[in-house]
Point group: C2
Chain length 414, copies 2
């Protein structure tokens, strides 16, 4: 049995680059940018009028002139006009190019217009006021968004501004999520007395959807030969297999044996944690000679790597292990650094086993403090308890008593 | 000019119920549940074996018996078997129904099996140990998920467990997002010197996608008659119109005038805030007699309500106003209570105008404290600055000095 930290190190070492794909701008929300985005021009690209009003030659104001004949208009989206007579002014609109030979914008609020003449009502104005200078925000060629940024609405706006109607993002791994166990029936079915409905695969699909990773699902009954045949096929087709169940000590927990027979290298099995201890993690490296489904590259023999995350079948165990292990593996694989979040325990907690304890908590924010209140669940089978909390707090195995007011790492799931 | 608080009150009063739709389970992630979810049976639905091992009649152990002949096996997913001879035991698997006449499960780790006989290696065991009692987590009929809950992976699991392959969720409003301004060209185009690319509509689409609201987009040039004709049509077709631009004092800011001509009631225009001050908000109520596109209900005359959020065209103004006004309006409309988040200022801030100040900050978590560090932008036109922050902190207009260490409301956008 290894520690959570050792398990995380092994998983980080198994991070893998799945390449890059180019997708339409509006589909890229939530994905990880895989190119550096530079300013294609200065921003603003011209001296930009920042207020609706008039523009004048500032030196005329300095000389004492207050009334200016309106010579013309400069709307946004029109070519730059010229202030022909320095004693005149031009009406200008927000977003317009600053007219040539003019250098101070006065707001409509600060002028009075009568018979084509604008009179400034202020005693003082500044040169270049209400003008957003060309290149003030960014210079042409400047990096606006770094590679490996998660694309949010803010990045979408910048990508549009620099003309990226297609965006390079991290390609997703191909993921298959498999449930096992003869007690499971479909969601739409009426279970018999000894049966329950499948739920873990859908929880996992949803946890992956949160990362914008699509996935497929399958169910395999507790039959060793069927399990072996199906997993053998999946290993040639998918980058990642997520299992829920069949990894503990039961007579029908065939998965570790089957994976061993299929040459999947076990990297660890069982982690010193609660819930989720019987977690099995391994890696398959297949030599693909000339398999018809796999197009050959230049090399004669290609290898196909598949990672196998085999989570214990209890709902909370599957749930927490996906968050604790799959999430960081994925973030490492795509080059994203996720910031650690911590919260303050709202009450004393005692946990004696020498295991890392992932305790369900409700995290609330009070005056800038994140407060984690433990919620009472009924153990790793009580899926419904997750509805009443929003995070797990990670209590280290070296301690048995955790005092109110101490801060520990949290893992939010909503 | 009204205050942010007054504006929010007016917007809350305009909240509207858009009804309910039933969608497939896996499409419901992120949506708002519009039915109460009850346990369709006890959970667990039977006394459930919680460990792999054997089950015995506890009274035999009490009498001193330690070795038990294995009489049979109870796998998960099989009908309940019976312990025929109280001196025997049955092998049981996690998830199985507890065999009849047996009441203590001993883990494989705590027994030795030789020649079909299991010997218990413990001196003490408890009655009912390692058994997850029927109904322990939830009783049949108990509410598992309340109405108006946002569906996360946790809820998906519970919904699957109780057999909801279809789920009732809040229907989304039909939203049209419109940009105006002759200076704007398409993302794929090369702008002329005096032009820039459209970006605000895509930012808004993305901010709405974050709420799982699909939307459509359009662009209208600065032509009063065209604007009027298009908006007139939109008012019959959409529940919400979001505009970016054309609401300030410019000669081509026709929107307030056009909306007035079309009978859209102005609820307010300009809010005491920076950025985003010239925000226009109003409501259209059309009497639809027998319009062919609108199926008639029982009443002869139907009304069609449309809300108009007309945001100022500067990128940061549009961005912040969508978060500050559209988001709470939507949450109120679908019945979701969003918890307020606060963060602690990392440095002193001075802001003299009597305006609510939405300051861009980067929020980090340190030992359970949320720390908000202001970032230096170049005003409301500097969209790229949003890439370097993750939230706005809302500084009230009654104050001019905000000291390091004080906590204020934050609005995160990633």
């Amino acid at each position: 049995m290894i520690s959570v930290e050792q398990a995380l190190q092994t998983i980080a070492n198994s991070a893998q680059d799945f390449g890059v794909e180019e997708i339409p701008l509006l589909q890229s929300l939530g994905r990880i940018l895989k190119e550096e985005i530079k300013a294609d021009r200065d921003f603003p690209p011209f001296h930009r009028v920042a207020m609706d009003g008039i523009v004048i030659d500032y030196s005329q104001f300095q000389k004492g002139q207050r009334s200016f004949k309106i010579e013309g208009i400069q709307p946004a989206g029109s070519e730059q006009v010229l202030l022909k007579n320095p004693s005149n002014c031009i009406e200008v609109m927000t977003g317009a190019v600053l007219p040539m030979h003019a250098n101070a914008v006065i707001r409509y609020e600060d002028i009075r217009i009568e018979k084509g003449v604008a009179t400034i009502l202020l005693n003082e104005i500044c040169e270049a006021q209400n003008i957003h200078q060309q290149g003030k925000d960014s210079k042409k060629g400047q990096v606006l968004i770094k590679q490996n940024t998660r694309i949010s609405a803010a990045e979408i706006g910048v990508l549009a501004t620099v003309g990226k109607d297609k965006v390079k993002v991290a390609k997703n791994p191909k993921v298959m999520i498999v449930s096992t166990g003869n007690e499971l029936v479909d969601v739409g079915a009426i279970p018999l007395a000894h049966q329950i409905r499948r739920s873990n695969v859908f929880t996992l699909v949803s946890l992956l959807e949160r990362l914008h990773i699509p996935s497929e699902t399958a169910h395999i009954s507790d039959d060793k030969w069927l399990l072996k045949a199906k997993v053998e096929t999946y290993l040639t087709q998918y980058d990642v297999l997520l299992f829920s169940g069949a990894v503990s000590k039961g007579k029908y927990d065939f998965l570790p044996e089957v994976l061993d027979q299929l040459g999947v290298e076990k990297l660890f099995h069982t982690v010193a944690q609660r819930p989720g201890k019987p977690f099995w993690f391994g890696k398959s490296t297949l030599l693909l000679a000339s398999h018809q489904d796999v197009p050959l590259k230049k090399e004669k023999n290609q290898t196909k790597n598949t990672l196998v995350f085999a989570f214990p079948g209890n709902p909370i165990s599957t749930f927490v292990n996906c968050l604790v292990y799959f999430y960081p593996w994925y973030h490492k694989s795509i080059g994203l650094k996720e910031e650690e979040e911590t919260a303050i325990l709202a009450e004393d907690v005692s946990f004696k086993p020498s295991l890392t304890y992932f305790l369900q908590v409700t995290v609330n924010c009070r005056f800038g403090h994140l407060i984690a209140t433990p919620i009472q669940g009924n153990g790793s089978g009580d899926l419904a308890s997750l509805v009443h909390s929003n995070a797990f707090i990670q209590l280290p195995k070296e301690q048995a008593a955790f005092v109110k007011g101490a801060a520990y790492k949290i893992i939010r799931y909503r």
